[in-house]
């Protein structure tokens, strides 16, 4: 088997396709590294200044009073950019960079101030962008599109070419079992693709890791290792496909045509076409609808509580306290229902995306890209994880406010209104601060299904290639 693999390898190393592949991959990987070095420092800077803004806001509000802290909220909560974004862009430009935790729909209203809520502002990077549409060059693109094409170009004539030139008969005349011959060819092609790919990847990593702005820690290197293994698995998939078609088809030209058509349909068209088909099934509420529902809720609550607050007598102390309670109830209820509305919209959007992402798993390129995303810590799943972090932080923050207020004997413990809450300043260190984290465990869970799916594809195609090759007549 190693004999055959070695022969294949030598054959390939001298060929034109090997040279072209090496040049192409090197150029792409260098571009990728350059782009990352150009953009990443800016992203990190924006993140750090965002975090500093959030902490300053908390400190200054905490120094003022607990009420101020409770009313103003934590401010904009930033998502930590991944240092491995060059591996998978994951549509990050279409994902918000954070969540807003400060929302003022209305200002002072007779002693009432609206409370903060978690809002999910959308990003529309393309609304004003008149630049031409281009795909970002990340590893996902290089491996998903270019490397898969190259893998097909390396295998389309592996068997049919030998049959055409008659060397296959010669080879099988020796006492070589067919499966050994097939494995030899497979390994030979795999190694000859791995060489230029590994070279380009190493150059890419060398450029990125030697730059002073980017720091990759041990965990990041571990993730990179996994990403490389996935890339190899994905390459195997296309090599197996190439061998399968090459064994089934008599002429290598026909084999190439078949392979290219399969490649185009599954890699280029399936993801986007399926996305627009499945995306059309459901439509989240439009911004007009959202505004309408928001103001409708506000009006209802106004009629229910705000007027009671306005009209409530202020004569006795009991009346005053009752009035404060009404005011506080109005503010907290308003914030709660607006936050629920925001969450409803977000949930609709997420469920639409989930459905689309499940449907496009039909295409191997989507599987590999979402695998890359989960190991690089970018993309949609990562965004959901970030949202979870934010929501648990919001709960923590609110509990902190309640507990601190309870500890103050002078407070009336009526939330939502200035006179009802503690006026004392809070120690800024005690206030919970938001820090975004990336957990590897969760990443692996989302990736496991994809990984299994990819392995399944490879096994099915390889056994298909074996069956086809065994039954072939030389």
């Amino acid at each position: 088997m190693w004999h055959i693999a070695k022969r294949e390898l030598y054959d390939n190393l001298n060929s034109l396709r090997f040279a072209l592949t090496a040049v192409l991959l090197l150029a792409l990987m260098l571009t990728n590294a350059m782009m990352h070095l150009r953009e990443h420092p800016g992203r990190m800077q924006a993140y750090h200044s965002g975090v500093a803004g959030h902490q300053n806001r908390l400190t200054s509000n905490a120094n003022e009073s607990l009420y101020k802290l409770a009313e103003q909220g934590p401010g904009y909560l930033n998502k930590k950019p991944s240092p491995l974004r060059f591996c998978a862009e994951g549509g990050e430009t279409f994902l918000p960079r954070g969540v807003s935790g400060s929302y003022h729909r209305w200002g002072g209203r007779d002693g009432l101030e609206s409370f903060w809520i978690l809002g999910y502002p959308p990003v529309t990077p393309n609304l004003r962008n008149i630049s031409p549409d281009v795909t970002k060059i990340d590893w996902g693109f290089i491996i998903g599109y270019v490397l898969s094409l190259v893998a097909l170009l390396f295998t389309f004539d592996a068997i049919s070419g030998e049959r055409e030139s008659g060397t296959l008969r010669l080879m099988l005349a020796n006492s070589v079992p067919r499966h050994t011959a097939l494995m030899g060819k497979f390994l030979g092609a795999l190694i000859s693709i791995t060489i230029p790919f590994a070279l380009a990847m190493l150059v890419n990593l060398l450029v990125i890791s030697t730059a002073k702005d980017v720091h990759l820690n041990t965990e990041a290197w571990g993730r990179l290792g996994i990403i490389c293994l996935i890339a190899l698995l994905y390459t195997c998939l296309f090599l197996a496909l190439g061998l399968l078609v090459s064994a089934r088809v008599q002429r290598s030209a026909v084999s190439l045509v078949v392979l290219l058509l399969i490649w185009i349909v599954f890699v280029v068209f399936t993801p986007n076409t399926l996305a627009s088909i499945v995306g059309g099934f459901s439509s989240p509420m439009s911004s007009d609808e959202f505004e309408e529902r928001s103001s409708q809720l506000e009006d209802e609550l106004e009629g229910e509580l705000l007027f009671k607050y306005y009209l409530h007598p202020k004569d006795t102390r009991e009346d005053m306290i009752k009035r404060i309670q009404l005011g506080g109830e109005y503010v907290t209820e308003d914030a709660a229902q607006q936050e629920r509305l925001h969450e409803t919209l977000l949930k609709q959007q997420i469920s639409q995306m989930r459905r689309v992402r499940a449907a496009i798993r039909l295409s191997p390129v989507t599987i590999v890209q979402s695998l890359f995303e989960s190991f690089a810590g970018t993309g949609f799943e990562r965004h959901l994880q970030f949202l979870e972090n934010v929501q648990s932080y919001a709960r923590e923050f609110r509990t902190f406010i309640v507990d601190t207020d309870r500890a103050d004997p002078e407070s009336l413990h009526i939330f939502g209104i200035q006179v009802g809450m503690s006026q004392k300043s809070v120690a800024p260190e005690a206030v919970p601060k938001f820090e975004d984290t990336l957990s590897f465990n969760k990443d692996f869970n989302t990736a496991a299904v994809d990984l299994l799916l990819l392995t399944l594809f490879v096994i099915v195609l390889l056994s298909g290639a074996y069956l086809a090759f065994v039954r072939v007549e030389v």
Binding site: L20, R128, S131, P132, F269, S286, F380
Partner: protein
């Protein structure tokens, strides 16, 4: 002689597996995608109609002129099915007001929003042609000459008294005829699907535009066939030719359009230009604000209160400047909305009318004055860098083809900007109407006490896409460039082939 050659080549090509596969795949993809695209178009059309209705409704609810927001909406372009261009992603509703001159960058978006869905690229008919037709052309071409060299049939043919140019021409024409079959069949099916969809009505101009797209597609196809032929004649071996063709395809279609913009550095010069223009605009508005304050100081009403102590129960009156320096937008907005006037307000109303009668024209004039600065500055800082990027992209035939078809479909940047040009004209009409009917100094400007504003007497906004001549003019350069590439390639192939030894 030529016809014999063509017939031979044609039969050779038509009977192949690759031809059948080409036709099948093209039809499948084009039909599937056209159905999806038509659905998408219909959805956008519904969104557009809903937006029209909502905006009209909202305008009715505004009880004063100054708080009214007149919005105009851009209808989706039915030809975006062929090349979506900027049709889906740029803003499709813009507020028309006397306060500023609307541009593409002031526009918002109506319709259901899920910004996450922006991740998925839109596939249109032109993209299918771009990717698959070019591949098919290369697959047809790689063995056109190399195959004959290898098999030795070329020597056989040349023993007859046939000119070499004829052989080339015959090969080219027959292959193009073959490639036209999947192209025309799939386009015809797409057009049939379009005409059967009830929501889409195509007029004669639209069919001419589609004709333009077909023409451009043929020229594009021919470029790739000639590239394949060039490789074939230069390498003389089918294996090498095939490899080179595939890599050429990958490079031109997949790699170059995505890589080039990342490699080309963007100039930093516009930033300084933007800052200076913004400063100029800011100064103009400050000047306006000084004049405004001066007026308040000098008028008969004591104090600088712009309420004139009129507000009864309910309403608002707040003036503020809105700024966004990245798009050089700066304007003063003062919506006044008084549900009821105070009981004794009668005597003070003329003061308010006097003030708003002064303010409205001043805001309008300042907006127009700043527009004179904003327009060239926007052109320089936002449009020109994009044009440079466009030139880089057009170094590959794919970019040329994309630009040309966008121009035909009217979904290119110019086509979208036509809408905003119309919105600006409409703004002028609106301002004229305000002047003519003395809206600024009317009571309806700030109060709903004396009846609601009569928006219906305004001229209606109507946007017509430019006629097909303009589309043709916009597409002409790119189509000509594609043609020139064709001719140059053919000449090179001819020269190599004539000089080559058989």
């Amino acid at each position: 002689m030529l016809t014999t050659l063509i017939r031979r080549e044609l039969l050779d090509n038509l009977m192949t597996f690759r031809f059948a596969a080409a036709v099948f795949i093209m039809l499948l993809l084009v039909v599937a995608n056209t159905v999806v695209l038509i659905k998408d178009y219909e959805k956008r059309l519904v969104d557009y109609n809903t937006a029209l209705k909502t905006h009209r409704q909202q305008l009715r609810e505004d009880i004063t002129y100054s708080s009214g927001e007149l919005k105009v909406d851009r209808p989706p372009n039915p030809l975006s099915i062929f090349n979506v261009g900027f049709d889906k992603r740029l803003g499709n509703e813009v507020t028309v007001s006397h306060r500023y001159v609307p541009t593409l960058w002031d526009a918002g978006k109506h319709g259901s929003t899920n910004s996450f869905m922006g991740m998925f690229a839109a596939i249109d008919v032109v993209f299918i042609f771009e990717a698959i037709l070019s591949l098919l052309a290369l697959i047809f071409a790689y063995d056109a000459l190399a195959g004959e060299y290898e098999r030795g049939t070329l020597r056989l043919v040349l023993t007859h008294a046939v000119r070499r140019g004829y052989i080339l021409l015959a090969k080219y024409m027959s292959a193009m005829l073959c490639l036209l079959v999947p192209l025309l069949m799939s386009l015809l099916l797409a057009v049939i699907l379009l005409t059967t969809a009830t929501s889409i009505s195509l007029n004669t101009d639209d069919f001419l535009r589609i004709g333009g797209i077909v023409l451009t597609s043929v020229v594009y196809l021919s470029v790739f066939y000639l590239i394949g032929m060039l490789i074939s004649v230069a390498t003389r071996r089918t294996g090498t030719a095939l490899m080179l063709s595939m890599f050429a395809w990958g490079f031109l279609v997949l790699v170059y359009p995505n890589v080039i913009l990342a490699v080309v550095p963007r100039s930093e010069a516009p930033k300084a230009r933007a800052a200076s223009a913004y400063n100029q605009i800011e100064q103009m508005w400050e000047e306006f604000d000084r004049e405004r304050k001066q007026f308040l100081k000098n008028d008969a009403f004591p104090g600088e209160n712009t309420d004139f102590n009129l507000m009864g129960s309910g309403g608002y009156s707040s003036g503020s400047f809105h700024r966004s320096s990245s798009i050089l937008r700066y304007f003063y907005i003062k919506p006044v909305f008084m549900k009821r006037l105070k009981e004794d307000a009668e005597s003070r109303v003329p003061h308010a009318q006097n003030y708003y009668g002064f303010l409205g024209p001043r805001v309008t004039d300042t907006a127009e004055k700043t527009w004179l600065i904003r327009k060239p500055a926007l052109e320089e800082i936002l449009v020109q860098p994009t044009n440079v990027e466009g030139v880089w992209l057009k170094l590959s035939p794919v970019g040329l083809y994309d630009a040309a078809t966008q121009a035909w479909a009217g979904t290119d940047l110019k086509g979208i900007r036509d809408f905003f040009e119309a919105a600006r004209e409409y703004r002028q009409q609106m301002v004229d109407h305000f002047y003519n009917t003395k809206v600024f100094e009317s009571q309806q400007w700030f109060t709903g006490d004396k009846g609601t504003p009569d928006w219906d007497s305004l001229p209606q906004f109507a946007f017509q896409r430019v006629d097909v001549d303009t589309n043709a003019k916009r597409a002409l350069t790119d189509v000509c460039l594609l043609l020139m590439i064709n001719i140059a390639l053919f000449i090179i192939i001819f020269l190599i082939f004539v000089k080559s030894e058989v």
